[in-house]
Amino acid sequence: MKPMSGVSVTKGAGDAAPAADDLVVLSNVNKHFGALHVLQDIDLTIARGEVVVVIGPSGSGKSTLCRTINRLETIDSGAISIDGKPLPAEGRELARLRADVGMVFQSFNLFAHKTVLENVMLGQIKVRRTDKKAAEDKAHSLLDRVGVATQADKYPAQLSGGQQQRVAIARALAMDPKVILFDEPTSALDPEMINEVLEVMQQLARDGMTMVVVTHEMGFARSAANRVVFMADGKIVEEATPDQFFSNPRSDRAKDFLSKILHH
């Protein structure tokens, strides 16, 4: 498969050789949905400990970009590597890599037939082969950390959206991931529940977790991001620090986008 050789070739050619602390590297990634070219020549490097917020209008490809990083979406060409290893094809290797990449979904996707505690224990026991007691202790402490310790024995459907999303974050954290991908984590939440989730994410960012966050929450981007990536029509249009981006966007597309969301 082509992408396998991508990294070493790039290294050999000497252009953009991944530095030691580059955790996620996408180079020249392209993807089509039928005739729609959703990702166009995407180059993006995420350093260890970095919080990258991806924003942009609907349909700009930002969720797709997020999902390609753990291969929930396949790519047509280009290369993606995580911690120096190219993303493997479907199989055992890919499963192992996914265990190191946490994912938080827009619609929470907690396992509906399992309790909150079981949701947080499952990956530890079945993938990490942790023993049950240790997994349970860790699950309890993570649930405590995200503020839903009292809900451990309930089923996901009995929790509010905000609580479910915090459990989903705990479930991702239980795997000790190298990076966590957040795919519009607050977009399905009632307004009053958005903050409780953002606070947990902000705390994670402060603790040094590497995060890729696709979101419409500009406040979070401003306060927690090291870097803002602005996407439109399948391309990365602009990359800047939050300050630069929000106070002085360079591209017209970004200016237009910001003027629509910030003035009302």
């Binding site: 929930l72 499963a95 996914r98 619609s107 996707n109 907690l110 990956g123 993938v127 009995q158």
Partner: protein, 221 residues
């Protein structure tokens, strides 16, 4: 009024019916689950096999399958499934045929159950690093089964009644005894009623209990 029942082993015959139903139910549940797993697997060969199997088997009358298992498997290929008495051989052949047939329906019921599980459940499971079989076994199938308890109970009831076809290859279950009695006794309507009642006694609780179970285990979303 029920003197005509004397000298017949009614309970024994129904016990054979129950045994046929229970063994076939277990077998078809396992084989049907495997087929459903194949049907959603990423391997095209497995998907093709499961699809072909279901489409062929569910369109052949059960009588043909059961008679084939006796004439084809046993008498032509001399497969006896580890039994040496003819009664046991026929019983096992009948179970094999019932499993082969019913599994196609179990598979289809389960597959419709799999369709009720939101795709996000599998994505979240894959994102945790679970393998395909783990995702199926731990996340998809448990939720799919809970969604199809009622359809599966229909399959089970149909299976219980289908066991009567085992009489075609000489398994002495309830309907076999009924034919015997019809030939020897005069109370035709009463005989029919007795056997009809016997089957209702077997299947009615099945439907009621599984209906209750269905509500009990339903996954709330």
């Amino acid at each position: 009024m029920f003197d005509f029942l004397e000298g017949y082993d009614l309970l024994g015959a129904f016990w054979v019916t129950v045994q046929l139903a229970v063994y076939s139910a277990l077998g078809s549940l396992i084989w049907g689950t495997l087929l459903a797993g194949m049907k959603v697997s990423p391997v095209p060969l497995m998907r093709g096999f499961a699809t072909a199997y279901v489409n062929v088997v569910r369109n052949i009358p059960l009588t043909v399958i059961i008679v084939f298992s006796s004439l084809g498997l046993n008498q032509t290929l001399t497969i006896s499934l580890g039994a040496d008495v003819i009664e046991d051989i026929n019983f096992r052949l009948a179970v094999l045929a019932l499993v082969a047939y019913t599994a196609a329906f179990v598979c289809e019921a389960l597959r419709s159950g799999i369709n009720t599980v939101p795709v996000g459940q599998a994505e979240a499971a894959r994102a945790l690093g679970l393998s395909f079989t783990q995702v199926l076994r731990l996340i998809i199938l448990p939720q799919a089964f809970r969604a199809v308890v009622n359809p599966l109970s229909n399959v089970l009831i149909a299976l219980t009644k289908n066991t009567t076809i085992a009489s075609a290859i000489g398994v002495v279950e309830a309907s076999y005894l009924m034919k015997d009695m019809i030939e020897a006794e005069a109370q035709l309507i009463l005989i029919a009623l007795v056997f009809a009642f016997g089957f209702v006694v077997l299947t009615l609780p099945t439907g009621l209990i599984l209906g209750w179970v269905s509500k009990k285990v339903a996954v709330k979303r």
